[in-house]
Symmetry: C2
Subunit: 325 residues, 2 copies
């Protein structure tokens, strides 16, 4: 199944069931009006949602055009947004960029932080940037949305708590990070609102690309219309979503609708490009001694999308422009 949240003027929008080709959509209601509501009562809502999804797939005349709607992020706000940093290549490069060592437990203990989740940007919302000097960067990621997930979930049990897969642009303010991390309490001001892909899909929609808690497909990012990177999100995700779920459930439980991000998708093979500016800048420093690529400027445009092996878009496109606040 594929879902989107239509902007109907309310905070949490209206849940729509979307056709596999992302062209058409039908309201999920009347009994389930928002995605949070569907996730809160999944056992009761899932059969009805599946019926609607089957209908729209069979009858090509059914539904309205997705292009006629404005789409929120699938969850316009969520109860938790937890972001991992599961691609070792990214961790090593970005720590080098700010003169910090990777933690000793780099390969054994996942890096993860709690992000703000009360207001997400929509997939085509502008990124408001009050000050260019903050060093605004994009981070292209994959994320999963959880069912109610108990404390003490093991890696082997984790799969059944993954309800949906989405893409994220985890916007970061690089120049605010060093001073903030220096204080010891993690990111805060350096992580403004993230944006998600217009459509969230059940893992089965990914077919064989969904394997062992990873999405084995390239994640494409364009900066100002030019391909910036297409690293594969699968093989180099050192900690899978199963690992991340086992990690976060050690000391507490999670409500349905909790979102976990993969961290910036990154491959060691440089020809695959990057999913954020910080990596490119670090590579420039390593190669030439100086960083020449600037962070995002007002007017810059970032697009993020993932295609299946038949080159069909799976989640729709994140397409955002940086603007003054």
């Amino acid at each position: 199944m594929k879902f989107g949240t239509r902007d109907n003027g309310t905070r949490d929008g209206e849940l729509m069931v979307v056709s596999r080709d992302l062209q058409r959509c039908l309201p999920a209601g009347p009994d389930v009006t928002t995605l949070q509501d569907a996730l809160d009562h999944w056992d009761e809502t899932q059969p009805h949602l599946q019926k609607t999804a089957d209908m729209i797939e069979k009858d090509l005349q059914l539904g309205s055009r997705t292009s006629d709607q404005t789409w929120h992020s699938p969850l316009p706000r969520a109860y938790e947004w937890i972001d991992g940093s599961a691609y070792i290549n990214h961790v090593v490069l970005v720590r080098k960029a700010r003169g910090a060592q990777p933690p000793e437990t780099l390969r054994t203990d996942p890096l993860i932080y709690q992000g703000g989740s009360g207001i997400f940007l929509g997939p085509t919302d502008n990124i408001p940037l009050a000050d260019i000097a903050w060093g605004c960067d994009f981070e292209s990621e994959v994320a999963v949305i959880l069912a109610d997930t108990p404390q003490g979930t093991t890696k082997a049990q984790a799969e059944k708590y993954i309800r949906l897969v989405v893409l994220v642009n985890d916007v970061s303010l690089r120049n605010l990070i060093p001073a903030e991390l220096e204080k010891g309490f993690g990111f805060f001001q350096s992580k403004p609102a993230s944006a998600f892909s217009p459509f969230a899909v059940t893992p089965d929609e990914l077919g064989p690309a969904w394997k062992e808690g990873r999405v084995h497909l390239p994640l494409k990012t364009w900066l100002n219309g030019k391909l910036f990177g297409d690293p594969n999100a699968g093989p180099e995700m050192h900690f899978s979503f199963h690992d991340l779920i086992a990690h976060i459930t050690k000391t507490r439980a999670y409500t349905a609708g909790t979102i976990i991000g993969s961290g910036t998708v990154s491959n060691e093979d440089r020809s695959r490009g990057s999913s954020c500016l910080a990596e490119v800048r670090m590579i420039e420093k390593i190669d030439n001694g100086t960083m020449t690529t600037p962070f995002l400027q007002h007017g810059d445009r970032v697009e993020i999308e993932m295609f299946d092996t038949a080159n069909k878009s799976i989640f729709g496109r994140i397409d955002q422009k940086v603007v003054p606040l």
Copy 2:
């Protein structure tokens, strides 16, 4: 106005308007069923809620007894839980305890972290502790619940975005903190679910005790029935809630229902006791060279409450027992 969330078998409970003396309550509905809903539509719901609050205050026969209900935390789950650490005395003692220096910006830049908010414990829920070796501690705090709060809110503007005041027990797993902070991304596993006081009150209910974004009253904590501390939450709160709001809104906006905590209430005057075990242990170490007070054991009971100058409870009591998971 005072509010509580009755456990009616649903996730988010039923919003009740509570009498000033905390003895009686009336459903806030039918148009507003949860506290989140009331906060989401405050301008429309506030007049009706105020009418109900006035009614219950005038007619002493009205409503059901609060003692006949089970109370959730006022928001059983919230879109954001942000915890400050605004009492300098606490920061200095706890950092000493783990052999870390206070940050250089201790008095100019608030310490703050993003906590998990998807599942809170209720005010009388047990604290499930899987492993005594994690070093479980309580932290007695004051917190405020926000209205929709825009990016760039100044200290002078902050007051109008504070809708409600509550108490918190911010449970911490002290022995998991050093390794986690060492990784650089802040607290995660070391901060399990927090619990809140049964009742949330509008700032005007505090009378002159609510001043310049601080609550000028002692916050009492008992451990196993014995008074553990009653430090005043006002004068030594170095960063007021107004400061904290200005800090968090630098780079993003917040949804109604966002909660900000003060951090562990702490006074320099040792005769006021403490609001967490970590401080007592550090004082023992400074005075005697060794920490003798253990962290929480299974069976230990923590109670937190605040009284007005007439010795009336303002928020009801947090009363939790530590139990095996």
